[in-house]
């Protein structure tokens, strides 16, 4: 027997650089905000799932120990950049199966502890030990996509311009300053053809969600956001040729998510997708069938992925502008979708939003398109 699952509480702290704050002190305010948002007695929370990639041992216990929300099962989950979307998936599964009625999801990361530079990847990995860094992997996607489909530098830069414009309207975003195509292209090269402003900033942040069964949801809020699909998959390892211009794992996950939700891409009003680098967002337009193969550049240029377009992609500013404290990202994407579907998104409200989607992938290892991918579809 399964039950419907909803989000009744959402909270996050503004993303930014907070080197003086501990991981626990970054995250507990997001948890309290989510609890208050749900109007729930903290004692009703039966279990917690905490996603983080670099938080260290017992991150969830360290956070919840600050506010006395302990003595319940707390599970810490690492899945690189999809850590907290993975936590959300398992939280949803545990409620859907009837194990719990009310669970808490936390996403948290403190990247300033590394002092800047590229994300520290696992040196045991063959490619990483030989010089692979995340910007280079995406740079190769960009180069190959430009080679095959004629995408231009300007179109690529336009992703950053659009998402910075969206981020300007989001008080929780790390980068709240508009930019231009010229400025993006003139910023320093990181991994050619990607420049600095085409890479997500390093930062700190946390987000939290209260997930519950449909049975108890009306006890907390009259406007629960229903979860129509919760998909998690891993990449398929291959030692041979892979097409870097289409994300195998996201395409497969999207097909599963559409099937579970019983809707297709045309129904989606807004999508928070994993734009860790400019090229990624374009590739995901196609993976979610928002546009046809090879047409992402034109789709963006014609305004189909911003306010007033066919689907507003990354209204929050996305990873490029909102920021990407990696373990916090999946939960923060869900927070944005919930706020949009409730009509609480202020200046960046997607008018009449009814269906939202969130998508987080985690990578940085050899032989996979990405290591993990989690997709959620929500409805008001």
């Amino acid at each position: 027997m399964t039950t419907g699952v909803s989000v009744v509480g959402a909270g996050m702290v503004p993303f930014g650089k907070f080197p003086e704050r501990s991981l626990a002190d970054l995250a507990w305010p997001a948890v309290k905000q989510a609890l208050n948002d749900a109007g729930i007695d903290p004692r009703r929370v039966q279990a917690a799932f905490c996603g983080t990639a670099f938080g260290g041992m017992m991150s969830g216990q360290r956070i919840l120990g600050r506010i006395g929300l302990t003595g319940i099962p707390i599970t810490n989950m690492e899945n690189a950049c999809s850590a907290s979307s993975t936590a959300l998936h398992h939280a949803v599964s545990s409620v859907r199966s009837g194990q719990y009625d009310v669970v808490l999801v936390i996403g948290v990361e403190k990247l300033t502890k590394f002092g800047g530079g590229t994300l520290p990847l696992e040196e045991e990995d063959w490619e990483v030990s030989n010089g692979m860094v995340m910007p280079a992997l995406y740079a190769m996607r960009a180069q190959r996509y430009m080679h095959e489909f004629g995408l231009t530098d300007r179109q690529l830069a336009l992703v950053s311009v659009k998402n910075r414009r969206h981020g300007l309207l989001n008080p929780d975003a790390q980068m709240r300053k508009e930019t231009t195509v010229e400025e993006v292209l003139a910023s320093r090269p990181i991994a050619e053809p990607l420049t600095l402003l085409q890479c997500c900033p390093a930062g700190d942040g946390a987000a939290a969600l209260i997930i519950c069964s449909d049975k108890v949801a009306p006890q907390f809020r009259t406007d629960p956001v229903r979860i129509l699909a919760s998909d998690l998959t891993s990449g398929k390892y291959t030692p041979g040729f892979r097409d870097l211009t289409t994300p195998e794992i996201t395409r497969r996950g999207a097909a599963e998510a559409w099937e579970h939700a019983g809707i297709g891409p045309d129904a989606v009003d807004l999508a928070e997708v994993h734009d860790a680098f400019s090229i990624a967002e374009l590739i995901y337009y196609e993976a979610f069938d928002f546009c046809a193969r090879g047409e992402a550049g034109a789709f963006l240029e014609q305004g189909h992925s911003t306010f007033g377009g066919k689907v507003v992609v990354n209204p929050s500013g996305g990873l490029l502008a909102k920021g990407h404290p990696i373990g916090a990202t999946g939960a923060a994407q869900a927070v944005e979708v919930v706020r949009q579907l409730r009509g609480e998104a202020g200046e960046r409200q997607v008018e009449g939003a009814r269906i939202g989607l969130s998508h987080a992938t985690g990578g940085g290892i050899a032989g996979f398109d990405h290591g993990a991918c989690s997709i959620h579809i929500y409805a008001r």
Partner: protein, 125 residues
Amino acid sequence: MNPEMSPSSEVRLVGMHCTACGAMAYPFQAVCPICMAEDEVAEADMPTTGTVYAYSTVHAAPKKWRLPYTIGYVDLSNGVRVFSHLDPKGLGVGAAVYASTGIVSGEAVEEPRTQLVFKAVGDAK
């Protein structure tokens, strides 16, 4: 261009061949990543020429690397893809390249090691 880089005809690419399922991979590993076989897995020489699938010149990386450096994927005729450093000279998507060696790690490494670097065929001499 790094002066340490010099063409070499003695570079071998030792990969894996699984006689149980036919899979090949580079570098060698002792268990087949496709069918889990161990006893049927053997070292095998890979072709030392291939074509560039994609590459990037990197300007931000951990300290051990000498910046900038170029890395990418080289597709071999036997269907195996090799991740490697590349010499940027004469490089392009689809360029024919051959396996050579060079030193690409930086001053932070006490004993910089010679490692695999692919070079464009047109720049062999």
